[in-house]
């Protein structure tokens, strides 16, 4: 855990001002949300329960009275999200993306509660080269969680429209690699919004995938917690930089009946969060290199930060599901 740089804090505050509002008068107001965002850099744990926000630092969780902690984490399902490892990237912003991915794995292995599995939300590789995927596979083999679920980023489907990705990771998936699975009563949905992108557009899910999604969630009870994960944000973070998905509104319309929906994305190499009605949107940091806050630079290119600061802007997301409480608490921890 480490403190964020001043500029990072400034950007977090900014993002909150832009993005956070109490859409459904559900008690998640801006002030409460600011409190929630405080953990993004400082390593706290946040739970929204029955519309009431509660947050804990990871350190505090570890120090909690065992009985209290057991109560807080009863029936939990935990997993870790990593994203944007960009294996093969070697420019100034981070000449050692293998090293920072390894650091993420060490961090995951050191968590007080071992996550049951990992989610990788895309841009595994930088240039879709076989050796890049191989290196990531090798590094992640050292992670305690043995189950890893992937969705592709645009960097994973270069030149072959995702064939290689499907061969490596797409077993049992549909279409360009979308799928769903259940863990302890939570329904997870992995979506692909990085293929067949149209000129001038954003991320795209496409009609075939949307039809599949509608059918996939149809038989589920509204009380089933959903976790939807995809590479490009399924909310309009900053369309000017392509940080959004053209047909995400249609996808989310199928999820309206559910009481708890969490959307996990990568792509923008920074942590942002937004609550809108029943949906909590969350983007994860990159294990490779940070990108600027929306609109705060000429382009979304890699942000060069001093080497000693790099690990403080890279990270992993640790997600804990609290059974029966209709909420997911998310905590981001940085690598430093």
């Amino acid at each position: 855990m480490s403190l964020k740089t001043t500029s990072q804090e400034a950007h977090s505050e900014n993002s909150q001002n832009q993005l956070v509002y109490d859409h459904n008068h559900d008690g998640v107001d801006r002030r409460g949300f600011l409190k929630c965002m405080a953990w993004a850099g400082t390593g706290a744990f946040c739970v929204i329960r029955g519309g009431v926000l509660r947050s804990y630092s990871l350190g505090r969780l570890a120090e909690m009275d065992p009985t209290e902690r057991a109560k807080e984490m009863a029936g939990e399902l935990s997993f870790a999200q990593i994203s944007d490892s960009h294996m093969g990237f070697n420019k100034a912003a981070n000449p050692d993306v293998a090293g920072t991915l390894k650091a993420a794995v060490d961090k995951i292995n050191g968590l007080a509660v071992a996550p049951e599995f990992l989610l990788h939300t895309g841009d595994i590789s930088h240039l879709s080269k076989p050796e890049e995927f191989d290196t990531v596979e090798q590094i992640l083999r050292d992670a305690k969680p043995k189950d890893i679920f992937y969705v592709p980023g645009e960097h994973d489907v270069l030149n072959d429209n995702g064939q290689q990705f499907l061969e490596r990771y797409g077993k049992g998936s549909k279409g360009a690699g979308w799928y769903s699975f259940d863990k302890k009563g939570v329904h997870f949905i992995g979506l692909v919004n990085v293929v067949n992108l149209k000129a001038g557009g954003l991320g795209t899910l496409g009609q075939e995938q949307l039809a599949w999604l509608e059918n996939d969630v149809k038989p589920l009870q509204p009380s089933t917690p959903l976790v939807v994960f995809a590479h490009i944000p399924l909310w309009s973070v900053y369309p000017e930089w392509g940080w959004g998905t053209d047909d995400s509104a249609q996808a989310l319309s199928y999820l309206k009946k559910f009481g708890s929906v969490t959307v996990l994305n990568g792509h923008i190499h920074q942590t942002l969060q937004k609550v809108e009605g029943n949906v909590t949107f969350h983007t994860a940091a990159s294990t490779a290199f940070p990108q600027p806050a929306p609109g705060k630079a000429d382009s979304p290119g890699p942000m060069k930060v001093p080497a000693e600061q790099l690990k403080s802007v890279l990270g992993i997301t640790d997600v804990n599901f609290v059974r029966g409480k209709q909420a997911l608490g998310l905590v981001d921890s940085t690598l430093a």
Binding site: K91, H126, L127, E154, L158, G200, P239, P302
Partner: protein, 120 residues
């Protein structure tokens, strides 16, 4: 006399030589035209520059990626007239536009990056 004949012959040869030398300007014109028929587009900061490039028919356009992030040069037409492989930093792609028209293209990785080539 003989001298003057040979001088005349030499002069004639000289003239021939001159006419042989008048040919190169035509070749030079072609060379000049060929020189005009290449153009450059740079990819910087997630954008194509210039965003609109106007060139005569027959021009070969070369794109160079100067970003730290890979991009592609992909025709927006269906079917696609051209599509580069992914271009890493400093990699290039060239395409020759033989017919007049407006050719829109984009980066298939970052589709917000759009630009066009107008061929006259």
């Amino acid at each position: 006399m003989r001298r003057s004949v040979s001088f005349a012959v030499l002069s004639a040869l000289g003239l021939l030589g001159m006419s042989a030398l008048t040919a190169p300007p035509k070749n030079l014109a072609i060379l000049a035209a060929q020189k005009a028929e290449t153009a450059e587009v740079k990819i910087d900061n997630f954008s194509f520059g210039p965003a609109t490039l106007t060139v005569p028919a027959g021009t070969t356009v070369t794109w160079t990626n100067r970003d730290d992030i890979p991009h592609t040069v992909t025709s927006s037409d269906d079917p696609k007239l051209f599509k580069s492989k992914v271009l890493d930093t400093d990699e290039k792609f060239s395409f020759t536009f033989s017919k007049a028209g407006t050719y829109s293209y984009f980066c298939s990785i970052h589709p917000k990056m759009t630009a066009k080539v107008i061929v006259q």
